[in-house]
Structure formats: structure tokens, C-alpha cells
Amino acid sequence: MRLITHNMLSCNIKGVTNGFPLKIEAEKVVEKEVDFNPDFLRHMFAKIEWKALVEAARSMGYAELPEDSPDATVIESADETFLRKLHHALLELHLEEGALVCPETGRKFPVNKGIPNMLLHEDEVKQTVCIDLRKGNEPTRIRSPKDRVLMQDVCIDLSLQVP
């Protein structure tokens, strides 16, 4: 799992309001060389949460990134020293074994062979509700796929989710 992915992952357990960023517990970090592509980095830079990236890189053993997010001039400039550091942190560090920890609940999501397992247990999943027209637009909880089928005709918007 590379840090570019970690920067996009958040904890989706029901009730959690601030599940980003996940803390990294690194057990095995591997460095794999990737072709340097400044255009790709410039494009992705706008979407990256900088503080999360710096913190994550540090947990993986790379502390070369500056604390504060550099402004546009540094990115657009021909000087590639910063982009090279960003490239290394974002794309070349792989978390092979370890865990990602939810900052709010402390729940650990294991990372095995470079793949984070973000599957939630049943009690952690958000409840699906539908608006039951018979009961005056009251949200009714859908407990099982069978409920969903039965409610199909009397409910609207079967994809609502509540924490």
C-alpha cells in the first residue's frame, strides 16, 4: 500500500465523524522504484492532504518532507528537488505488513502483503434505511436484503444510510 492510497483512505465505521487520517503502524516497509513523473505529481498535489502525508511518511521512516504544505510556486517551478521528495514519499514507499488505526475508535485495519483490509464487521456498518410512505415518510430500518425487497413498493430511495 502506497501513501497515495493511504491519503485517500478513511474509517467508515458507523458513528465515526473524523476517521481521517488513519495512523500507520508499520511493521514492514519496502521501497520500490517507480518512474519519476512530475506532471502526475503536479496533478495529484492539489488533492493530497499534506499534514496527513507528512505524518504517514514519518511513520514509514521518511522524514524529508517539509512540515508545511509548499505553495504553488514551488510545485510549478523547474526545480525538482521537492517533487523528487514528494515522489519518493507518495509512490515509492510501500507498507507491506502493518496496520492502519482509526483515530477516533482505535480500530485496527490490518495490512497484509501490501493490501489493506478495510472490511467492517456487521455491527460497524451503517444502517440502511428507506422512507416508508405508509408511515408518513418515517425512516424505517432495513435489516436484511429480504426487508429491502418487501419495502421496495412502499419506500422511496432505498439507498439512504444513517450512522
Binding site: 483512505l9 493490501i115 472490511l119 467492517l120
Partner: protein
Amino acid sequence: MEDLIILYNLLLHTLLFHSAVAVAVAVSVASLFGEIYPPRSFRRLPKTLFLTLTLNLQWTVMSEMTSRTADILRVSSHREVYEPCDDSFALVDALLADQTNLINHDPKVCMEIGCGSGYVITSLILLLKEKLPNVHYIATDTNQIAARVTNETLQAHGVSAEVVCTDIASCLEKRLAGLVDVMVVNPPYVPTPEYEVGMEGIASAWAGGENGRSVIDRVLPVVDRLLSEKGWFYLVTLTSNYPSEICLGMRKRGYASRIVVQRSTEEENLIILKFWRDKDEEGVDKETSSESFVKQFSRSLSSFMEKQWR
């Protein structure tokens, strides 16, 4: 005689470059002729050498052309992971047919939900990587073993993508919202009893509940949130999934749609749908103008033939 053999082989390879079997047959035929008419003197030797070289060249050329999609022999497998089948091939054919459009579309982030063996995401990467080396690819699957197998398939083809084991895209929705430019989904679409949906193991790869729509109906709102303004969405469905209903539902969310590939096998009537946001007028124009005459003709011919069959 040898000249005729060489010409015949060249012609055969050129006409049937998709068929590895035809090449194997051609090679064996050529070698058979080589045995019946062995070089009796030094004069014949150059011709036989030329014959062998030509065959090698054709073989290399053929493999180069077929490396546009994932090599089925290099796709990793596991008993709990769905192996590439007609639906996977149809989806990849749809992507192949749209290859030029995809390249012109210039996506920055491509995603597959339900990657299984990794055949489709690998094919997508191979399709795009030559002209577009700057794309970020993400693949998700609920099956942990499938995620691992996808990684192995990607490695076997020398490409890489981010693989995450999650339910549809639940952990990525917040941060990736509005960023995905190309979304590819081959969902569990087989109509089954509701209790079979989401069971552990390989059954979750096909069990689709009533009308095969359980998972599709859950995927559509997620895709709507993840797709960017110019996002394109490819979906595999059966006629049993009532694709027209799916298209209507997506229309209400602001998507136009069309059928990219329609394929009838013995067991299934596959329909590969493509969705894009309708507000993008430019996108609509691109869609209609890129249809070549041959494609339109072959599609009308196939629908005509289907009607004749019925």
C-alpha cells in the same frame, strides 16, 4: 513450393492474428511441409531459414498485438476467486472498442470495483499505459483472496495498481469523491435467492439477489458520488437485470447511457452499458461522432440476426 508455403503462412497469420490456435496449426503445417520437402541442397537452405524467420516474426508480431489486453495465461487464479469468463471478456472488449475515446478522454484516476482475478483492471492498464503513463489506478474487492490474486496478476504483467480490500468503496468514498474519471464494474449480476448475496467465498462473485440487482443497486449511488464531472462508467449487466430500468434510474441522476457491447452466449445475454454525465454536451458529441460506420453497420446487422433467430 516453399514460396507458396511462406505466402500461405503470412496470409494465414495476417488474417487470423487473434487466434493462437490458428498460428499453432500454421506452424505445425509449415514444419510438416518442411519435413516432406527437406532442403536437399544448399540452394534450398536460405528458403527454409526464411520460412522459420517469418514464422518467428509473425509470432512476435501477434504477441505484441495481443498484449493490448491481459494475457489469460498470466492471470493468477485461486479456487475462491472468479476466473475471467464471458462477462470479463465482453467488458474488456468494450474497453478495447472505446480505446481511442478513452485515450482522448485523458483520465487521471481509473477505478475498478470488484476486481476478482485482476483481468479487467490489468487489461485497462495495458490499454492505456502506452499513450497515458500518468494514470492512477485503484481496484477494490470484498474478497481478500481476490485482492491478493489481483496483485499477483498485476505483478505478472509488470504493471501496478492500488488494491484495497473493502465493501464496494466504503473507505474511499469521502476522499475520492468526484475524482474518478473512469469507473469499471463487473458486479455479481446473476439472479439468485436473496440469502446468497454477500456470502463468504466465490459465490459472492455472482450472487446478485432478486433480478440480480442487489449489488448493482448498492454500487450505483457510490459510483455517482465517486465519478468526476467528466467521468465515464462501464457496467456489465444481463437482460435479466432490466438494464433499461438501470438506465432510467441513472437518467434521473443526470447520466446518459448507451450499450457498448451486446453479447449472447448459451447461458447469458450480456449487455455492457456505458454511462456519462449528460450536462457535458461535449461528451455527448464525442460519443456519437466516434461511432464508425463499420461499428454501426455490424451492430445493426447483429440485432437484425438476433431478430431473425427469434
